[in-house]
Symmetry: C2
Subunit: 235 residues, 2 copies
DNA sequence: TGAATAGTGTCTTTCAGACAGTATTGG
DNA sequence: CCAATACTGTCTGAAAGACACTATTCA
């Protein structure tokens, strides 16, 4: 095979971390896990992104590893999952040179209420941060994830993946507004969404104390749609 | 320190690869290197992206590693450099489970003509491929880089980084057209570029066998500009 | 009937698309 | 003068912004 000496040099630690988003309580939230409170681990007791070492025996590839970590914490099997980037260097982990492959996932509202792992908890995203101080460079990674999500929401249909299987147009618009943190025009929003050929009406209405709203669902196996313009570009 | 046994498990091989683009001979080209022709290396003699193992003693972080590899092959020190993503899995390298952190760089035309390393050579990008068969999964990475470049060119000022220090608007437009592989409207192009507050005129003209053109330069330390609409969205 | 929210229509603005027309050089 | 390319202006159409208006439910 290959000469052993060629490969016999120190390798970085390799991890995968996942930023998991959902809309809960009318706000954008992210799932964090608390690190074990033992001195043999760095950042004992601190909150961190769900993630950990790649298992080269068990994980076929990076994405499979991300899916595994997502499922460990949320029981959710196949939400929207996108690679975010990687962060690596000598200083980010006290145990040595390390590199993490970061992903971000969008959970539909109903899935985010399921059985969480004992050490996991949802936190509201405020601005592009979260209240607790995060371990490692996870605050930077979370910030990048929020910015990526916000910027893609400007011109894609990503928020559709944060919705339950059936939803109304006003509910979808509300989700856009929560993520973007600014109001959108109802009329332009409806026109764009219906023109995008992304959703289809189901033969049901959402009842309430007012005029019922048409229910829609995602057209099946639909990749995210890209719009030619952003929404109401601020300034 | 930390318990050794905690960290004493097999780690993936970790590499950094760089997709280096430039406009040469009126075409989009990418720099490739030929792998050594020895049997102790995988893919002997095949063309590959410039890159290699992270040196945890010498590289401060992933980006520094990418800069080093770029400089090794091109002598260029600080072009536009952006992270592209990471690819990792059990099957991509015959030497074992490996993960690469991929970057892409844009070289201005004049820098791309400089002294290359002996094993390096430019290849035209045709569609989203390159003529020779590439080692590892580098064809996939190159394809992702071309797609990312094309899609960002639709709504950003990235091609400005492919230009020499001084250039005319028709030259900039030609660069957009080469990357996008479709013609753009002169009038709309000029309006948008001048409105973007990205470039400024210098007190010189480009002479030719016809009407001279105003020379411009990038406004200093200008981050890429995002436009609210894409160019002439095809269909 | 009124409150509340769903959904539509209409006018304006902005900007790309198309393309004609003018400007300025060398030969 | 002509060829060639730089640059500007004008008309049109598509889609967003603003916002008024209608529709449909429950209480």
């Amino acid at each position: 095979m290959y000469k052993k000496s060629e490969l016999d040099f120190p390798r970085p630690l390799t991890t995968v971390d996942v930023v998991i988003f959902a809309i809960r309580s009318d706000a954008l939230q992210a799932l964090l896990v608390q690190r074990p409170n033992t001195e043999i681990e760095p950042f004992p007791g601190a909150w961190a992104l769900p993630g950990g070492f790649v298992d080269i025996a068990g994980d076929r590839d990076l994405e499979a590893c991300a899916v595994r970590k997502l499922k460990d914490k949320t029981r959710v099997v196949s939400p929207y999952l996108e690679q975010l980037g990687s962060w690596g260097g000598a200083a980010r982990d006290p145990r040595g040179w390390s590199a993490t492959h970061a992903y971000f996932a969008l959970l539909p509202e109903h899935a985010a209420g399921g059985a969480l792992a004992a050490d996991a908890q949802w936190f509201a995203v405020e601005g592009d941060k979260v209240r607790p101080k995060l371990a490692f460079d996870h605050a930077v990674i979370l910030q990048a994830a929020v910015q990526r999500l916000r910027s893609k929401v400007e011109y894609t249909s990503l928020p559709a993946y944060l919705m339950p299987p059936e939803f109304t147009l006003p509910e979808l618009q509300r989700t856009y507004e929560i993520v973007l943190d600014r109001p959108l025009e109802k009329s332009a929003f409806r026109t764009r969404m219906l023109a995008a050929d992304l959703i289809e009406p189901v033969a049901k209405m959402r009842k309430g104390p007012n005029r019922p709203a048409q229910l829609y669902r995602l057209k099946k196996a639909r990749a995210p749609v890209f719009f030619a313009r952003t929404f109401n570009p601020p300034d």
